[in-house]
């Protein structure tokens, strides 16, 4: 069994969670038109992950293989419903903004992936830690994307802080770029896809820099157009 530190780092590393392997993309794209909403869903997902991992890990030994998956689905649905109800209670406006993407944390494949791959094999505490780290990794991507899009789109950061932090959050909005700046494409669906594309390309690039060259399997194809390759 790996150490907690390792579990944490493993979970945090982005390639463990969905987004980079292209799971859980929908919420990633849908709620990242601002940093705050991205952060909010990220936190909600983290909480859901922690508790569902915990529960799954607790019951794991007691379940027959053939009912495991439906049982997990039930558990996760319950956890998410609780989060939904609580969010409606305490963060009603935020809930209105996030809309169906709160209940959709259920299908967010990241959870299923983690529950099945980690929590079924580990005891409750490491499972929770793993859930926390994975959620944080996901959260990081959400925040990164939210930051990029909000900055590009409106030139601000932390707008709508009141959604999470109540009235004082209202004042946190940071106008990074001048007031008349605005590039609404970044806030619209095309911008969401493209920003994520650039983010992933950036990570690929960093990876390849770190690996010191081309990544295996991505070697330049033979016999491409001649002048392109030879010069």
């Amino acid at each position: 069994m790996s150490s907690n530190r390792e579990i944490f780092l493993d979970g945090l590393r982005l390639n463990n969670t969905g987004p980079m392997a292209l799971f859980g993309v929908c919420p990633l794209l849908a709620v990242t038109s601002s940093l705050i909403t991205g952060l909010a869903l990220g936190l909600a997902t983290t909480i859901a992950l922690v508790f569902s991992n915990f529960t799954v890990s607790v019951v794991r030994g007691r379940l027959r293989p053939e009912i495991r998956i439906p049982a997990y689905a039930l558990i996760i649905a319950a956890v998410v419903t609780v989060i939904q109800l609580l969010m409606q209670t305490w963060f009603f406006d935020l809930y209105q903004v996030l809309g169906i993407f709160v209940p959709l944390i259920v299908t967010n494949c990241a959870i299923m992936g983690r529950a099945e791959t980690f929590a079924v094999r580990n005891s409750p505490l490491p499972s929770m830690l793993d859930g926390f780290a994975t959620g944080l990794g996901f959260c990081l991507v959400l925040v990164l994307l939210g930051t990029t899009r909000e900055l590009l789109g409106k030139g601000t950061l932390f707008s709508h802080g009141e959604l999470i932090f109540g009235a004082p959050g209202n004042a946190w909005q940071l106008a990074v770029l001048p007031d008349h700046y605005g590039f609404s494409l970044a806030l619209l669906p095309p911008g969401a896809f493209m920003c994520l594309g650039f983010l992933m390309a950036g990570r690929n690039w960093l990876d390849s820099c770190r690996a010191g060259g081309e990544r295996p399997g991505q070697a330049v194809r033979l016999r491409q157009h001649v002048p392109l390759e030879s010069s």
């Binding site: 929908c26 959709l104 299908t107 669906p189 994520l196 650039f198």
Partner: protein
């Protein structure tokens, strides 16, 4: 009549589920490597989405609402979807083994994408009746299939293009999806006719 047409136009074009609403992006990015796979996935989605929207409407209308159990909606919809997928698979295997063999591999994939649950939730949110719900699901699947198939055909081209290394694979796929979303913005306003 017109309102049903509007539902179709809206779900397929103006508010396309993948490109404008961000539902079902995972299978969109994942299955689109080959055109044949994309077509299979689209057809399978059409079956499941139509059926599950209709049946979750029934559950919501005749079970959850009368007993004020709305807080169980996520739970029950998940079960309904799983059952629908199972039922579709069984039915298909009995009636049309060939189709079942082609579409079989896609069915489990569908159950785990957020479009199906999203559609059922949106049906409740928008207070659709039975026919509207079914149509909404069908339209969502059509819109999904339309962009999926086109995306797959485009990917066959980008696959062999000298795309800069960091962009190979998913990044260029996402950028393509972004440009598709851009093109689909041309349908803005269509949903009111």
């Amino acid at each position: 009549m017109k309102e049903y047409l509007l539902i179709l136009v809206s779900t397929v074009l103006a508010n396309n589920f993948v490109l404008a609403r961000f539902l079902g992006v995972c299978p969109f990015m994942g299955v689109s490597g080959k055109l044949e796979g994309a077509i299979g996935m689209s057809v399978a989605t059409m079956f499941v989405l139509t059926l599950s929207s209709a049946s979750s409407y029934l559950v919501n209308r005749y079970l959850l609402q009368p007993f004020e159990l709305e807080y169980l909606s996520i739970l029950s919809f998940i079960l309904v979807i799983a059952l629908t997928v199972q039922a579709t698979e069984l039915l298909m295997r009995k009636t049309n083994p060939l189709l079942s063999r082609i579409l079989g591999i896609f069915l489990p994939l569908i159950a785990s994408n957020c479009m199906v649950l999203g559609v059922t939730l949106l049906n409740v949110q928008q207070q659709h009746n039975l026919l509207q719900s079914a149509l909404y699901g069908f339209g969502a699947a059509c819109g999904f299939g339309l962009v999926l198939v086109m995306f797959a055909a485009m990917r066959e081209r980008t696959e062999y293009a000298p795309v800069p290394l960091p962009f190979r694979g998913s990044p260029i796929g996402l950028i393509t999806a972004g440009l598709m979303a851009l093109a689909f913005m041309g349908f803005t306003g269509l949903a009111r006719l």
